[in-house]
């Protein structure tokens, strides 16, 4: 996936000066604050945000932009990649949430684990690994969580067809 500049839609165009927080570009999606750190800066950003009061990690999930590379809301300085890891943080004092979107390339789907900052991300990162095959570096127990242990493929990837589950009842009579 090459970095097409036109992949960034105009309607969410960044205002004159690009806003940043802790060095990461900041955008607003429908009034919600989104940060776009680099893959290397992701963990440090979460750590800095934890000091800022974002002490609660609500969710870690991902999206596969294989069939929709020109996704909404990316600042022009961020190169879109196939996968995006999305972390949602919460600040009790500020009573606000904050979303982090990290671009993760297809060829090397590895991103730092937040486990040592927010142990509650353990199951969520396992789910992302299970569903997308994104590896979380530093996770203590990165195994499948929802799918069976011997499952092949990562079901939520866009190139994983919906109907590709092998027939379960091979021994059943009839050739239906």
């Amino acid at each position: 996936m090459s970095a097409d500049d036109q992949a960034v839609p105009e309607e969410q165009a960044v205002p004159q000066e690009e806003e940043r927080r802790h060095g990461a570009p900041l955008t607003r999606q429908l009034g919600q604050v989104v940060l776009h750190p680099s893959r290397e800066g992701y963990r440090d950003l979460v750590e800095q945000l934890r000091r800022d009061g974002y002490t609660f990690c609500l969710d870690v999930t991902a999206a596969d932009y294989l069939t929709h590379p020109g996704r909404p809301g990316l600042p022009s300085t961020v190169t879109p990649e196939r996968f995006e890891v999305v972390a949602i943080l919460l600040s009790f004092e500020g009573k606000e949430r904050l979303r982090i979107r990290v671009q993760v390339p297809d060829g090397d789907p590895v991103v730092a684990s937040l486990f040592h900052l927010h142990p509650g991300t353990e199951a969520m990162e396992r789910e992302v690994y299970d569903m997308y095959g994104i590896v979380f570096d530093g996770h203590p127990d990165l195994t499948r969580i929802l799918m069976p242990e011997d499952w092949e493929g990562h079901p939520l990837r866009k190139d994983y067809a919906v109907g590709r589950i092998p027939v379960q009842f091979k021994g059943a009579p009839g050739d239906r």
Binding site: L30, I88, G120, T121, E122, L146
Partner: protein, 441 residues
Amino acid sequence: MTSIRYPGAATSEGAQELSARGQMTAGELLRESGSVLRMSEAAAAEQADRAPGDQETMIINMGPQHPSTHGVLRLMLELEGETVLRSKPIVGYLHTGMEKTGEDLTYLQGPTNVTRMDYAAPLFNELVFSLATEALLQVEIPPRATWIRMLMTELNRIASHFLFLATNGLDLGAISMILYGWRERDLVLQFFEKTTGLRMNHNYIRPGGVAADLPDGWRDDVLRILDALPARLQEYDELMTGQPIWRARTQGVGVLTAEEAIALGATGPILRASGVPWDLRRDIPYLAYEEVDFNVVVGTYGDVFDRYAIRLNEIRESIGLVRQILDRIPRGDYRVQNKKVTPPPRARIDESMEALIHHFKIFTEGFKVPEGEVYVAVESPRGELGCYLVSDGSAKPYRMHIRGPSFVNLQTLPHMLRGGLIADAVAVISSVDPIMGEVDR
């Protein structure tokens, strides 16, 4: 693992399972407890090395068919006598790929899918999905629809907490509770059946409003429920809250401090039991919760009793909320009159060809939702229920993710069970109130 193939062997979860004590690694120990206590990796490695061989301990499976694991939760417990040394929840037995399915359904079909996740509180799933869709569409729903949603979800919260009280009582040996809890829950479910046509999985709250207006006589029905409940709650207090046996089984069991709850991502009654006054209805209000008065019930000790008491008292708060909603629910439309989102009324279809086509198109093709991504959350009976929705501009979500509070709350189990008795494990699991449909999705 030897590779003998007998039918049961196919269910082995391999590396997902709890390892034998001799093979326990530092990473596993860190995962189970150390991270919460901020244990260093070196300390974990040292402790793993010191762990005795498995001749003194026993690893047993609790579930997935155990009656007190609330569905298909499987807990692997390492026991030394009756003491739980380590534990690991193994989930996924109810996984049906609902997030994948959601990518293949239109926004109007979406609620039928998500409603099956947390099947004890289906309306919350529909609500959060609808709110996320409406946020992307940037449509404002009419006030009556907002208040109907509040009415229905608060009633659903009551029903869900009754389910909890019923099963919690059953798990701890107060067998009559399952009858009482079910009896009270049924009052609410009967009203749901009258309003939505179904007792569960309603598909009632949809993007753009609700499926139908409240039925004739709904106010009397709701009042009848509200009038019946306080006396019943009083009975519960007599049956359980004040009972020495109940208190002995629940107080001081499965304690979770506020720091641990926050670190582990626990929300809802579990977080509030630990003393964190956090309720999305008050702190990040959605619908019209700013306009109603209610108290956020907070515990002190973070034990099983606190979690029970919080849910019991949240029923009382919800009763008060529903009474306010009854007084203030406005007249008007129950769905947004936006031709893009709302199908034409039935009467129009008979007289207008265009209306028929329009109706057909909305239900086959669905409506297009502008590109964007959004995260919306509501306070479900189990905690923060979130929906992360990405639209690519088509009629189906590009990505639909539900943050199930039960899924995250389950992570508190190994920490709460550690060092406790196996009989208390039942109490602790019950107090987390996991709904496996939402855990596995």
